[in-house]
């Protein structure tokens, strides 16, 4: 009986542990500072996390297949400067910078995917190599200078509101819904889990493993392209040195959200909560005016602690 109850509790914790950790952090922050739990600040947090959120959702796909993508931050910069290059006022219609940025992200993702699957090289190395390649391309394309003077229409993507909701948040929501549905209800979604869970078995089930992986990397690149556009629009600049180490925050969010780096397990909702935890910590520590050096220590402790609290269930 009591063991059954304990089992039920631990099952609950396993399933919702990280959500609980998130709520605990939010409650503590609400108590600690009156500025945290205000509608304005919540909107700010959501807007802030949208870029990391879009990146994290993309890399969730890759991680579930058992891969990793370290090139995200650089791709963000590259697609940002590409978009900015075509977003000067009175030049091209908005679709051109956006389309080209997405295309660039897609191509980089496809390159990652092809080298990993056909070349049989570890994703870590391929995407690490791509990280420096994409950064180099961003610098070459922009001549090492920020690309400025962007059209108001373009900047609207990063700073505007639509129906009172900031556009980046809307885009993030859209990405959450589409990718959640893809992972849960479509074949390719299930194949992504299968490939990550047991590649040999997936192959033996007649799944074309390479195509599935390729899909994941392409999607990840594409979403990095979208995030690049949002970032460039948000800071009104294509910044060739933007996004350094952003991939680590994105991957951290995914892992905090319960997706296993070994592949085969994970969910979009988990990733979203992971993204929110990181976002809330960053925001909260700034609000509390924790000194910058201690902020890093506290942030590290909270991230480990949140995951620890989560795993306590298991």
């Amino acid at each position: 009986m009591s063991s059954l109850k304990a089992n039920a509790l631990s099952a609950f914790l396993i399933k919702y542990g990280i959500l609980i950790a998130f709520l605990v952090i939010c409650i503590l922050l609400s108590i600690a500072t009156p500025f945290f739990f205000t509608s304005q600040n919540i909107l700010i947090v959501l807007r802030q996390v949208s870029i990391n959120g879009i990146l994290a959702i993309g890399v969730t796909f890759v991680i579930i297949t058992g891969g990793i993508d370290l090139s995200l931050g650089s791709v963000l910069a590259l697609t940002g400067v590409v978009a900015a290059g075509f977003a000067h006022p009175d030049t091209y219609p908005l679709i051109v910078p956006i389309g080209l940025a997405l295309m660039t992200g897609l191509i980089i993702g496809a390159a990652n995917g092809f080298i990993i699957t056909l070349g049989k090289v570890a994703p870590f190395i391929v995407t690490l190599g791509m990280m420096t390649i994409a950064r180099g391309l961003a610098l070459v394309w922009s001549g090492g200078r920020p690309v400025t003077n962007l059209s108001p229409a373009f900047n609207y993507i990063g700073g505007g509101d639509f129906l009172f909701i900031p556009v980046p948040i809307l885009l993030f929501l859209l990405v959450i819904i589409l990718s959640g549905v893809t992972l849960k209800y479509t074949r390719i979604g299930r194949y992504i889990y299968a490939v990550g869970g047991n590649e040999e078995a997936a192959r033996a089930s007649g799944i074309r493993v390479n195509r599935v992986k390729l899909f994941a990397y392409i999607l990840c690149g594409l979403l990095a392209g979208l995030a690049g556009v949002v970032l460039a629009a948000r800071i009104n600049t294509g910044q060739p040195n933007a996004g350094i180490a952003y991939e680590l925050d994105a991957i951290a969010a995914v892992v905090i959200g319960g997706t296993s780096l070994m592949g085969g397990r994970g969910s979009i909702m988990g990733t979203v909560i992971g993204v929110l935890i990181i976002g809330v910590i960053n925001n909260g520590l700034d609000l509390l005016n924790v000194s910058s050096y201690y902020q890093q220590i506290v942030k590290g402790v909270i991230i480990i602690g949140a995951v620890l609290l989560d795993r306590r269930g298991g």
Partner: protein, 500 residues
């Protein structure tokens, strides 16, 4: 068009091994074609070639009269060939229904979508057909091996293939599930579906096969109609010599009580008490999921014990990890060699010495020469087919891998030896060797516990037999009083009798 499938002059080499040499195979429509041969004969390799997992070095394959060159399993499935693999291939984190229909999902409303309710319905139907009482949304990783095996069978059935290859599908099954599988095979035959059936179990083959092909050392030996070949003849084809009875009548001299447990409780069992004397073989029988594996795993420290005591040589011991158990002189040959038995990425030698490295070390250093010596000796002793002791174990055939696990545990020279399904996937010749070995160990005064789902094996080996059901011991039978029928009665609870 006589044959559904024809494979001609197939050859295949791996680094250092010629796995197949000019092999041929012809399968008629609507028949069961059995494939037999010792461990490492090349059966699985041939099958993997048929489903496009490996490319043959030479030879040609015709399916439905047409020459085929599968580039991947996907192609083979599209053409109508599917396979149940010898090594279980589950997706542990996905549900049972998802496992069954992976790669073959019922289509949903939009392109690319899955019809979830139809999938779950169909999965439920398939499981019922297989007599399996598990929920379709259960996580695959939580299943026992036997259940996993049954789900893999369901997966093959879901594919609606014309040729189903079954590579040792019953090695983890007990008689009850096996007979369900055979019913299904007969049904499939009636529908005109062909089956290639690989097994080391002689009676099964003679029971279900229409045609039998025998292989030895990568060579084709012959193809025979099942009705025209006797068991003895078949065995001599397989091993290339005459083989005497497998169970030699043993004459165990029982000594003092070496090992006992009383009132053990765990997650999946309750109130387990028994004892084993030196020189004795204790068999544990039961249906799949009876909790036998859980009991020995818990004794060995792989799982938690919530209550009860374990005594070795009369002294209570505390075991919280396998390390403690090994220290007490207990050895366990685990049920699932892939999950808990072997480090697949390591060599034969490294696997063998892993549990007993302390014995061949000086200080922190391993005596390398000694290690190789020992490994070579064991390879000879168990007749393990491997190009060298430095071969990565993943590349050995299933049966040979099992022998390495056995050698590893015995190298520690335990006094109490627990064997969980020790002959799973082992060929008939090697089986006889293992039985002989068990008897030898008993004669040396060891206490032995054998779990087996093959009743003849339990009956042939044991001095005493425990029957388990639903996590409890239902009966204890002596060698003389035990019969297959009696064991099955207790295992399935057809009597009201409750031991304890």
């Amino acid at each position: 068009m006589d044959f559904l499938l024809q494979a001609e002059n197939i050859s295949k080499s791996f680094p250092g091994v010629r796995a197949l040499n000019n092999v041929q195979l012809q399968v008629k429509k609507g028949t069961v074609h059995a494939l037999m041969g010792e461990n490492g004969a090349g059966k699985s390799t041939l099958m993997k070639i048929l489903v496009g997992m490996y490319r043959p070095d030479e030879g040609s394959i015709y399916f439905k009269g047409q020459s085929v060159h599968f580039k991947s399993v996907h192609d083979a499935i599209q053409s109508g060939i599917t396979m149940i693999h010898q090594e279980l291939l589950p997706f542990p984190d996905l549900s049972v229904a998802e496992n069954i229909f992976m790669g073959n999902e019922p289509r949903g409303i939009f392109p690319g979508w899955i019809n979830l309710s139809k999938r779950n319905r169909d999965a439920k139907e398939l499981l019922e057909r297989l007599g399996l009482k598990i929920a379709v949304n259960q996580r695959m990783g939580g299943l026992s091996i036997a259940e996993t095996q049954m789900v893999e069978i369901a997966r093959a059935l879901s594919n609606k293939a014309e040729l189903i290859i079954m590579d040792e599908p019953t090695s983890a099954l007990s008689d009850k599930e096996t007979s369900i599988l055979f019913d299904i095979i007969r049904e499939l035959k009636r529908e005109g579906i062909s089956i290639i059936y690989i097994s080391h179990k002689m009676d099964e083959i003679l029971h279900i096969a229409d045609t039998i092909t025998v292989m030895r050392d990568g060579e084709w030996i012959g193809t025979y109609p099942a009705t025209e070949v006797s068991q003895d003849k078949l065995i001599s084809f397989i091993v290339g010599r005459e083989l005497n009875t497998i169970f030699e009548r043993r004459n165990h001299k029982l000594g003092d009580e070496l090992f006992s447990v009383s009132n053990l409780d765990g997650a999946k069992f309750k109130g387990i008490s028994f004892s084993v004397r030196s020189g004795e073989v204790l068999g544990i029988a039961g249906l799949m999921g009876a909790g036998r594996t859980e009991v020995v795993n818990a004794i060995f420290g792989l799982e938690q014990i919530t209550a009860g005591t374990i005594k070795v040589k009369g002294r209570p011991v505390k075991i919280s990890a396998p390390n403690d158990a090994i220290g007490c002189g207990i050895g366990l040959i685990t049920e699932d060699r892939k999950r808990t038995g072997l480090v697949l990425s390591a060599t034969v030698k490294d696997n063998m010495s892993l549990a007993s490295l302390k014995k061949i070390s000086r200080g922190p250093f391993i005596k390398k020469r000694k290690e190789v010596e020992v490994a070579r000796r064991e390879v000879r002793r168990f007749a393990i087919k491997t190009p060298s002791v430095n071969q990565v174990i993943n590349y050995l055939s299933g049966g040979n891998q099992q022998k390495v696990v056995m050698a590893k545990v015995l190298l520690n020279d335990p006094d109490i030896i627990m064997l969980d399904e020790p002959t799973r996937g082992i060929d008939i010749g090697a089986k006889a060797e293992i039985y002989k070995l068990i008897n030898e160990l008993a004669a040396m005064g060891k206490a032995i516990i054998v779990i087996s789902s093959e009743l003849p094996e339990v009956l042939g080996l044991s001095d005493r037999i425990l029957v388990m059901r639903e996590g409890r011991i239902q009966a204890e039978l002596t060698a003389n009083e035990a019969t297959q029928e009696k064991i099955m009665q207790y295992a399935m609870n057809t009597t009201g009798y409750n031991y304890q």
